[in-house]
Structures are given as C-alpha cells and as structure tokens.
C-alpha cells in the first residue's frame, strides 16, 4: 500500500546558516541557494578578516570545475571576463624524481582503446617510459600554448581536458555575483557555539546577536568554528608550514601550474592574468631554505595539518572544505574535494529535521572521497630517488594506505589500474602519475600481442606526430586568453 508522503512543510528544514568568509563559503552559498526551495531560508554569516588559508586550495581546478561552476551560477565567459582566472592543462612536476625526467600531470579524456586494449599497454609492451608524447594536453602545456578542445573527435586536441588556474579571492568573488534574492548576509565574529547534546542550538556573535538555524554549515576553514576543532579526529595528519605571495607577471604564463621539489618541501607557481602566485610548502625546520626558494617576500604564512575528520556531518552541523579536511595542495585534491563536499551536500539537503540518513550517507561518501584523494597525494612520495630532508622523511614515514599499496603493486606487476567507487582521481590521472613517477610495469595486457607489432608502431608514431603537429599550430596561452576575452566581449556587446 502506498505510504503517505510527508507534507513538504511539516518538520522540514526551513533555515540554513552558512558560516565562513572565503572560497568554501562563497561556493557553498552560491550552489545551495540555487537549489533550495523557496521555504528554505539561507543566512550567510561572514566573519571579519581575510581567508589566508584559501591559498591551500592550491589555485588549480580540474575539468570538473566547469560543471560545478554552472550549477553555482558561474559560466565560463563570466570566469574569463570578470576575473584573472587562466586555463590549466595540469601540473608540471619538476625535480620530483631525482635524476629522472620531470613530467606533466595532464588532464586527460578517457584513454583510447585499440583492439580491445587500453593504448598505454602498447607503450608498456615496447618498454616506453614516457607517456607524455601521446598526451596532447601534456605537450601543449610544455609548449605554453592553449586552445579549447574542438568538437571534432578526430582532432588530436579533442582528447585534451582543461581546468583553471585561479587566485582564490578573485575566483571566490565570482560566486557572489548574481546570488539569488532572499539570502540574508550578516557580518560578525563567532564567540560561542551553544550545543544541546550533539546538535547546535545557536551561534553567539561578539555583538550579542544569537543565530539559530535548522542546519548549520561550517565553512570557516581549518579552525572549524562550528564543527569544533576540539572534536576533530584528523586521520592521516602531517604538520607543515606554508608561505604565499603574488608577483606581477606579463605576459600570462603557461597553461599549467609548476610544482618544483626542494630539500625543504616544494614550491608552486600558478599563473593568472597579470600575476604569478607563489606557494611554498615546507617542514618547520627548513624555513630558511623555503624562504630562499619562495623567491619573493611572503604575503601570508602559517601552519597547517593535513587529514580529515572522522565525520564531517554531526548532528545538525556539516563541515565543508578545510573545516572538514585539509589536503596538501600538491595536486588538485584540495579544491576538488571542496567542490565534491558542496555537491554532496546539495544532493543530500535534509528532507526533514531528522537528518540521520543524510548524515550517514554524507559521511560515507566524505570518508571515501578524502581517503581516495589522499592516496593520490601520498603516491607522490612512494618510490626511489626522493630528496632528503625533514619534509620528505616525514612524508615517507607516514603510514601507507593498503589501497595505495594495491594500486602501485598492480601497476608495477601488470600495468593494471585498481579502482574504487567514484574516486576523485580516475584511471587516466593514476596512469599518468605512475608513468611520471618512473614506475615500470613488469607485464602488460597480453591481448596487445594480438596486434601486429609493425602496424601498432606506425599507429603510435602517427598519433605522436599528429599531436606534435597540432600543438605547433596552437597559440600562446596568453594570446588565446586575450583573444577569447575579446570575442566574449564582442558577443556580449552584440547581445546587449
């Protein structure tokens, strides 16, 4: 017998309080406000001050950002015309492998399958150790050129995917434009969070105001003002320090972030229109060496610990972004996880004040996402020829997740990718990283032996040359961005 459907207005969540000032809050407000029905009121509490820790999102967004941004009301023309955001084909890792060549961790469309075999097995079959020449995004990144992938699937560039390089303040501001009406925005400092058992009953502000809601969303960063730092149970933690700054740069740099290893840790350069963003991550003991490598006077500096909460959603409070977990911005993991946190909450907006089902499912997905993303980061420390130093010793000494052991073991055994459900980083990401890290597969997919060798040699060579030829025709990143912006401006002028 069909059960009675709840009246939508009975015992449902009617008021969501989102606390935070930086990127996490901006993205959460924009996304959630566009999804909730009219009877759900949103209040956004912004704290005073800056969000220095937003630099720890790394300044690089994966291709997944495109769809997220559309959901949150930011389209690509807005991104390009109203911020200094630039394009990204991936990350260039330098000096990561001792004497081995560096590599571009490129964003890549699904690998082609030839005669029933994933194409990279033909590289393994031939003992080839560099996948880069067969990745159009990697080649374009190295040459500092960019163009949008064409729709024609026969064009080599159609296999490239791209993301963005961004400056947190400028990128976050985009989400505040065109926010739906009806959001109450307040500014104030939280002095106390009143609790009733596991649930939050109110948020007390410095000026005496008391805010009450049905659902509290903590986007306050690593301090986790609502979810509570004292209740944290970070897993996989590592204490590190960061310094960040920006320096003028013209013309626009390449369409990739560069991560360079040093004894102290690593430095990153991210390129946005008009500036290069410097980020250095280091062990506390190596501050001087880190400062020297950083290259410019730091505008921000601080400490952070990596790891994630045992439960991001507890009672009526859900933590997003760095309030939930902090990943080292060595890969796009931090920003990708923030996006997934927001998307996850949007799909699990509570149907009633009893949020246990949503809480359980959110935490299950959250734990899987963070655990799997951390595998991708941790994998960058597994292998020979890593630099010596406090930072590297600590990274190597961290307990290794058994899933990572299986992934590396199977790749090195037979070139096989071990996958878990809905991982943040997919097969292509992992295979490119394995090649880049110098991992060698002892075996390969033997079905590849069915294809006549000479024919496949020609096919591989044709692919490599087609990519090289396509890259030679592409414009410099800066010129492309400028021309694209001009085109968009003309389009918006023609439409107005």
């Amino acid at each position: 017998m069909q059960q009675e459907i709840l009246n939508p207005s009975a015992a449902c969540v009617k008021h969501i309080l989102i606390c935070g000032t930086g990127l996490a809050a901006q993205m959460a407000v924009a996304a959630i406000a566009r999804q909730v029905p009219a009877y759900m009121q949103i209040t956004w509490l912004r704290a005073e001050g800056t969000q220095a820790h937003d630099v720890l999102y790394g300044g690089i967004a994966t291709p997944a950002a495109y769809d997220f941004n559309l959901m949150a009301g930011v389209d690509e023309p807005t991104l390009i015309l109203e911020s200094n955001t630039a394009f990204a084909y991936g990350t260039h890792y330098r000096g990561w492998n001792g004497g081995r060549p560096d590599w571009v961790q490129a964003f890549q469309a699904p690998f082609p399958v030839w005669e029933g075999v994933l194409f990279y097995h033909y590289l393994l079959q031939r003992g080839l150790t560099d996948i880069g020449p067969w990745l159009v995004a990697a080649q374009a990144a190295r040459h500092g050129v960019f163009a949008h992938p064409p729709e024609d699937q026969r064009h080599p560039l159609s296999a490239a995917e791209y993301g963005y390089q961004f400056e947190p303040a400028a990128y976050g501001a985009l989400f505040e434009r065109g926010l739906p009406k009806g959001i109450t925005t307040l500014t104030g400092d939280i002095v106390r969070v009143e609790r009733d058992g596991e649930a939050i009953s109110s948020v007390e502000l410095k000026d005496g105001r008391s805010l009450k809601a049905d659902l509290y969303v903590d986007c306050t960063g690593p301090d986790a003002r609502l979810a509570g730092p004292s209740g944290r149970n970070l897993t996989g933690g590592q204490g590190l320090r960061f310094m960040a700054s920006r320096a003028p740069e013209r013309p626009l740099g390449p369409p990739h972030r560069t991560v360079s290893a040093g004894r102290f840790g690593w430095t990153a350069r991210t390129h946005v229109e008009g500036a290069a963003l410097h980020l250095t991550i280091h062990a506390a003991a190596d501050e001087d060496a880190a400062l020297a490598a950083h290259g410019v006077a730091p505008a921000f500096a601080g400490a952070f610990a990596t790891g994630w909460r045992a439960a991001a959603w507890s009672g009526n409070c859900v933590a997003l972004g760095q309030a939930a977990g902090v990943a080292e911005p060595l890969t796009p993991a931090p920003f990708l996880l923030l996006q997934r946190d927001v998307e996850r909450l949007v799909t699990l907006l509570p149907a009633s004040l009893d949020m246990k089902v949503e809480q359980r499912e959110f935490n299950r997905q959250f734990t899987e996402d963070y655990r799997n993303a951390f595998l991708f980061n941790q994998s960058l420390f597994v292998g020979e020829d890593r630099p010596a130093g406090t930072y590297w010793e600590a990274a190597r000494a961290a307990p290794r997740d058994e899933r990572l052991t299986q992934k590396i073991e199977q790749f090195e055994s037979r070139g096989l990718h071990v996958a878990y459900d809905l991982e943040p980083f997919g097969q292509e990401d992992w295979i490119i990283q394995h090649f880049g890290m110098g991992r060698r597969a002892e075996r390969y997919d033997r079905v590849a032996d069915h294809t006549p060798r000479a024919a496949m040699d020609r096919h591989l060579d044709e692919m490599r040359q087609a990519i090289a030829a396509a890259v030679r025709t592409m414009p410099p990143h800066g010129a492309y961005r400028q021309n694209f912006a001009n085109f968009l401006q003309q389009q918006s002028g023609a439409l107005s």
Partner: protein, 166 residues
C-alpha cells in the same frame, strides 16, 4: 544475474590472467572485484524478497525473518526516508533497476529530495504526463515480440537451431 556474474568473472580473469607465478596480488585483486560484484548482486536479489507480506510457505517466513546485510539496510533507509538511491560506480544494477524493485515491492519513500519543491507542481505534473505519454506511444508503436524476432531473421518458430557437427 547469473549470466552477468559469469561474464564478469570471465572479463576479470582476462584482465588479471596470471602467469606461472600465480601472484598473490593478482588473486587478491580478482577476489576483491568479484566479492564486490557478488555483494551488490546479493543486495539486489534479497531486496526482491524482503518486503513480502506472504507467510504461506517456509521460504517466505524465512525471508520475512532474514537479518539484512548492513549495506542493504542503508540502501533501504535512504530510499524510504527520502527516495535517495545510494550509488556506486561498480555494480551491474543501475539506479532505474533499484527504483523498479523498490517500488515494485511497495517500498514507497516517506519523504523526498527537497529540491523537487523548487518546481511548481503543475510543471512537475506536466513533465510526468509527458513522460508517461511518450512511453505509451513508444510501446504502442513497437511491434509484437514474436513478430519482431521473426522479421529479424529467426531460423524457425518451432525447431531449435542446432549447430551441425563436423
């Protein structure tokens, strides 16, 4: 389901075909993949039985009293609370199959995703009606099953096709 599991086993074995060393890592990965497959198929199959109101035979009484796997309990709780389907990447049954079995077993959600309330009810009704009408038209236009097989070149309506020896 059985045929799928055979196919899955063959596909995984081809992917993880061992060499003479019979590495433990190969065994472990094959077993992990197949165990996941079996667990998810198990949940789907058990779901066909557990919402029953029947008590007329030992089978049905057994099913009513069955302790459910935690994974299935979570799926059902999410569905019954808000019509939410817990999704996985690896598993043969896609969300529409789960919806069909849940509703077919009379497991109706008590609540729903609040995002639905963004749409005016008349729009929801119109869209649902359009889907229903589209399905009815497509079904009405589809040929009879037996006729379709025959026109597709079935050898015979009566005699089974037996490969000739030699």
């Amino acid at each position: 389901t059985s045929i799928h599991l055979i196919q899955e086993g063959i596909t995984e074995l081809i992917q993880i075909l061992p060499d003479r060393r019979f590495l433990e890592s190969d065994r472990a990965e094959y077993n992990r993949r197949m165990a996941l497959n079996f667990e998810r198929v198990r949940d789907f199959l058990v779901l066909h039985y557990i919402a029953t109101e029947r008590t007329d035979t030992e089978l049905w009484r057994y099913m009513r009293a069955l302790a459910l796997p935690e994974s299935l309990e979570e799926k059902m709780a999410a569905w019954l609370t808000r019509g939410h389907l817990i999704r996985y990447e690896f598993g043969v049954f896609l969300p529409p199959s789960w919806v069909a079995v849940m509703l077919g077993q009379n497991l109706w959600p008590r609540g729903y995703d609040p995002r639905v309330d963004r749409l005016p009810e008349h729009e929801l009704v119109a869209q649902a009606e359009a889907i229903r009408t589209g399905v009815q038209r497509a079904v009405a236009a589809a040929p009879d099953h037996a006729a379709y097989i025959k026109q597709s070149g079935a050898a015979s309506m009566t005699a089974p096709h037996v490969a000739k020896a030699g």
